[in-house]
C-alpha cells in the first residue's frame, strides 16, 4: 500500500482579498521506504506540499492520504497525535530545544509525545545516538554543537519514535557542502537501517541527485517526476 497518495491536491492561501494558489492540483504517490525529493525554485510549493504531508497544513482541494488517513479530516489535536505517532521532522534551522542536551533532544518525543518507559527510552536513544555517531556529544547542548552535529541530532530525533516517514524541509540549506552531503548520506543510511521513508525538499542540484524519486515543482505544479532507481525497501 502506498504511503502517500495525492490526487488533485490544491492549496490556496488568502491574504486579505487576494487569493494565492500555491499548489494547483498535483497528483503523486510515495511508496514506503523510498527516498524522495521535492525540488524546485523558491515559491514553487515544495514546503507547502511537505507541510500538507506532515499534517501541519490542510489542503483546500483534492485529496491527500497519508498512511491511508485523509489528513483533511484531522482536527488540530488528531493531527498532533498523528504526527507524533507516524511522522518525524527535520528542519532547515535544526530546531533543537536549546535547553536540552543532544541526548534529551532525541529523548524528547519518547518522553513528551509517546511516553515510553524510562528503560526502553534510554535503550532507544542510545541506539539512535550511536546510529548518527553522536554518542560522544550526548551531553552537549545545541549551542555547544556544530551545524552538522545539530542536524545529526535532529535526524536521530526524527527517527527515535519509529516514525514511518521523515519530512525534511531544506535540511541542508544551512550547512556547508561537505556537511550537507554527509547529512543526506546519513539520512539514506538511516532509511536503509530503519526502513523509514524520507521525503525532503531541496534546491541544491548535488543534494537532489541523491534522491531516488524526484518531483520537480514549478509554480505549484509537478513539472516532472524522475525515478533514479527503484526503492528497495518496499
Amino acid at each position: 500500500m502506498s504511503l502517500v497518495i495525492a490526487h488533485g491536491l490544491t492549496k490556496t492561501y488568502r491574504a486579505g482579498d487576494v487569493e494565492v494558489q500555491a499548489i494547483k492540483g498535483v497528483d503523486f504517490v510515495i511508496e514506503p521506504g523510498s527516498f524522495v525529493a521535492f525540488v524546485g525554485p523558491s515559491g514553487s510549493g515544495k514546503s507547502t506540499v511537505l507541510n500538507m504531508i506532515g499534517c501541519l497544513d490542510h489542503p483546500t482541494g483534492g485529496t491527500l492520504k497519508v498512511l491511508a488517513t485523509d489528513i483533511a479530516s484531522l482536527d488540530r489535536r488528531a493531527a498532533a497525535n498523528f504526527r507524533g505517532q507516524n511522522i518525524g521532522f527535520i528542519f532547515q534551522d535544526f530546531n533543537l530545544v536549546p535547553v536540552l542536551t543532544a541526548y534529551e533532544n532525541i529523548e524528547y518525543p519518547l518522553l513528551m509525545v509517546q511516553e515510553w518507559p524510562a528503560d526502553k527510552r534510554r535503550e532507544q536513544v542510545m541506539r539512535l545516538l550511536k546510529a548518527v555517531d553522536m554518542e560522544a556529544q550526548a551531553d552537549k547542548r545545541p549551542d555547544q554543537m556544530s551545524g552538522g552535529q545539530k542536524q545529526r541530532v535532529a535526524v536521530a530525533r526524527a527517527l527515535v519514535s519509529n516514525a514511518k516517514m521523515v519530512l525534511a524541509d531544506e535540511p541542508t540549506a544551512n550547512l556547508d557542502h561537505d556537511t550537507a552531503y554527509r547529512i543526506i548520506n546519513l539520512m539514506k543510511k538511516m532509511r536503509d537501517e530503519f526502513g523509514t521513508t524520507f521525503i525532503f525538499s531541496t534546491h541544491d542540484p548535488k543534494i537532489m541527485a541523491e534522491a531516488e524519486t524526484i518531483f520537480t515543482l514549478e509554480d505549484g505544479r509537478i513539472a516532472s517526476s524522475t525515478q533514479h532507481q527503484e526503492a528497495s525497501h518496499v
Partner: protein, 415 residues
C-alpha cells in the same frame, strides 16, 4: 511531571536575569505580607491579651441594658442573687469555661483628705478576679505583690490617680459613694498597690474587696454588676458566647423580655475596631501581593511565549499534544511560585527570628516599653504560600493557553 518541571526549570534558567527579577518581586511581596501579618498579629494578640487577661475577661454577663448605660455604672441594673446563681449554673455546664469573677462596679469620690476626685471602682473577689484576669497582678507597679490582689479595707488605684492625688502605697484615703437609693456613704481604705493603666474600658479603674463595695453601697443582697468569664481556649469565644446566650435566653423579666446579656470582649472594647482594621489591612496587603505576583509572572510568561514561538512550533510539529505544551508553561509559572514562596518564607522567618532576638520595644497609649514579639501561624504561611503559587499558575494560564493554541506551521515561520 518531574520531567515537565525539569524542562521548565531549564527554561527559567535560560533567562536568568529576568527570572531573578521576577523571583525578587515575589520574595519582596511575600516577605512584606508575612512580616505584616507577623507584626500586626503579635501586636493584636498582645493587646487583646492585655485587655482580656487583665481587665475584661473573654466574656461578660450583665443585666439587660447595663452595657448601654455603662458610662454611669448604674446600680439599679445590677444582677440580683437569683440571676447570678442562674448564670453561674449555666457556666458550670460549659466545659470551655475556665473560671469567672463577679464584680460590683460603681463610680465614687476619692479623697486624700485635702483633695477629692472621681474614681471608678471594681469590687472584686480577689482570688477569683486574679484567676479570671491573670495579668492584673502583673500590672501592679508599686505595693505588695504577694498575697491576695486586695484585702478588706485596702484599695488598689491606677498610677494616674496616685500621681494626680499625690498618694502612695500605705496612705489612707476615703471612698465616698452614692447608693441606689441616693444616700451617700464613705469608708476609709489603705492603698495596697498602684497599677499601670492600660487603654480601653476598665483600664484605669481602682479595685477594692467585693464585700467592702457592698458595704459602701449598703447593699442588702449580694448583687453584682457583671460577671467576667475566662475561657480555657480563647479560640472558642464565639462558640461559648452562642452557647451561653442560648442557656440564658430563658431568663426573662416580668414583661417576658430577656433579662441577661452576654458580651464578648470585642463587644466591649474599642480595640476590636482596630483589630478589625488590622485584619482588613492584611486583606489589602494580600491583594497587593496577588497583584505583584500576577503582573510579574504574567509579564515573564508572555515574554517567554513570544520569544519561543518557533520552539513551540517545533515541539508542536513533532506531535507534542497541546495539553502538554500548556503544562510546560504552567510548570514554569508554578516553579516561579514555588521558588519565590520558598525564598520568601525563608527570608520572612529569618527576619521574624531576628526581630525576636533583637526585642523591638514600642509604646501604645498608656503602656510603655512593650516588647514586639512577632510570630506567624504556620497556617498563615501555608495560606500565603498557596495564594502565591496559585496566582503564579493563574498568571501563566493565558500565555500557556496561547502557546498551546499556536498553529505549528505559523509558529515555525515566526522570525
Amino acid at each position: 511531571m518531574f520531567d515537565v518541571l525539569k524542562i521548565a526549570g531549564r527554561n527559567l534558567s535560560r533567562y536568568r536575569r529576568r527570572t531573578l527579577l521576577t523571583l525578587l518581586l515575589i520574595v519582596i511581596g511575600m516577605v512584606a505580607v508575612l512580616l505584616f501579618i507577623a507584626v500586626t498579629g503579635s501586636f493584636k494578640s498582645m493587646m487583646v491579651g492585655q485587655i482580656t487577661d487583665s481587665v475584661l475577661g473573654h466574656l461578660e454577663v450583665h443585666r439587660k441594658g447595663y452595657v448601654a448605660s455603662i458610662d454611669t455604672l448604674p446600680l439599679n441594673l445590677n444582677l440580683k442573687p437569683g440571676a447570678v446563681a442562674k448564670v453561674e449554673e449555666a457556666l458550670r455546664q460549659i466545659d470551655a469555661v475556665q473560671t469567672w469573677s463577679p464584680r460590683v462596679k460603681f463610680g465614687g469620690m476619692f479623697s486624700n483628705f485635702t483633695e477629692t476626685t472621681s474614681i471608678r471602682v471594681n469590687g472584686v473577689d480577689p482570688e477569683r478576679e486574679a484567676a479570671t484576669a491573670p495579668l492584673l497582678p502583673g500590672r501592679m507597679i508599686d505595693g505588695r505583690k504577694d498575697g491576695p490582689l486586695v484585702a478588706k479595707g485596702e484599695i488598689v488605684i491606677p498610677i494616674l490617680l496616685a500621681r494626680g492625688m499625690k498618694v502612695k502605697v500605705g496612705d489612707t484615703v476615703v471612698l465616698v459613694a452614692t447608693n441606689r437609693d441616693g444616700s451617700v456613704n464613705g469608708k476609709t481604705f489603705v492603698i495596697r498597690g498602684v497599677t499601670e493603666g492600660i487603654s480601653g474600658p476598665g483600664g484605669r479603674d481602682g479595685y477594692i474587696h467585693i464585700e467592702d463595695a457592698r458595704e459602701l453601697l449598703r447593699m442588702k443582697e449580694a448583687e453584682v454588676s457583671e460577671i467576667a468569664i475566662r475561657l480555657k481556649d480563647p479560640g472558642q469565644l464565639d462558640r461559648v458566647a452562642t452557647r451561653l446566650k442560648q442557656a440564658l435566653e430563658g431568663e426573662t423579666n416580668p414583661e417576658g423580655k430577656p433579662m441577661l446579656e452576654v458580651h464578648t470582649w470585642a463587644d466591649l472594647s474599642p480595640f476590636s475596631s482596630l483589630a478589625r482594621m488590622i485584619d482588613m489591612m492584611t486583606v489589602f496587603i494580600k491583594i497587593v501581593l496577588v497583584s505583584i505576583v500576577l503582573v510579574s509572572v504574567m509579564n515573564v510568561m508572555v515574554m517567554a511565549v513570544y520569544e519561543r514561538i518557533r520552539e513551540i512550533g517545533t515541539i508542536a510539529a513533532i506531535g507534542t499534544p497541546p495539553s502538554r505544551i500548556l503544562s510546560l508553561f504552567l510548570a514554569e509559572g508554578l516553579l516561579l511560585g514555588i521558588i519565590g514562596t520558598a525564598l520568601g518564607t525563608l527570608v520572612s522567618l529569618a527576619v521574624i527570628f531576628a526581630a525576636n532576638i533583637w526585642k523591638i520595644h514600642f509604646s501604645f497609649g498608656q503602656q510603655q516599653d512593650l516588647v514586639m514579639a512577632p510570630f506567624i501561624d504556620p497556617a498563615q504561611v501555608a495560606t500565603v504560600a498557596a495564594l502565591v503559587m496559585g496566582v503564579a499558575v493563574l498568571a501563566s494560564l493565558q500565555p500557556a493557553w496561547k502557546a498551546s493554541r499556536l498553529d505549528p506551521m505559523n509558529a515555525l515561520r515566526h522570525v
